[in-house]
């Protein structure tokens, strides 16, 4: 199975969601990308359809927006 990608921006709700997702899916099945630290990934995230973080992009390309932490506009600052 291809990996899912979990995008977040370091906010508390993101970290909480990250821990849950990693526990549920398994650390080997998900790549975690901190958009605040890796800003070069923002364009790829937006292209994948990420509207807010935290979000999980599944291997099938669907985007599951989890909670509502910060808009992509906020991540860009």
């Amino acid at each position: 199975m291809n990996k899912s990608i979990f995008y977040h921006a370091g906010c508390p709700v993101c970290i909480s969601a990250e821990q849950e997702i990693v526990n549920l899916i398994g650390a080997n099945n998900v790549e975690v990308v901190h958009l605040g630290e890796k800003r070069q990934h923002i364009e790829a995230a937006e292209t994948a359809g990420v509207k807010s973080v935290p979000a999980l992009v599944t291997p099938t390309g669907n985007v599951l927006h989890i909670n509502y932490g910060a808009s992509m506009a906020d991540v860009k600052g």
Copy 2:
């Protein structure tokens, strides 16, 4: 591991999210509850902290609201 509970209300975004979640977590690890068909579960869902569906209540009791499909008020009708 205790099961997660995935609450939804039959809307298209719910069904899509359900399939993703079941694929990612594994069907044996998640109980799916259709609140539109099992309205007696609405109170338990609200008590668990579900504010909108679809939502995943994890074994640790955290609620991950996924996308934003329908508010609990909409589910109650």
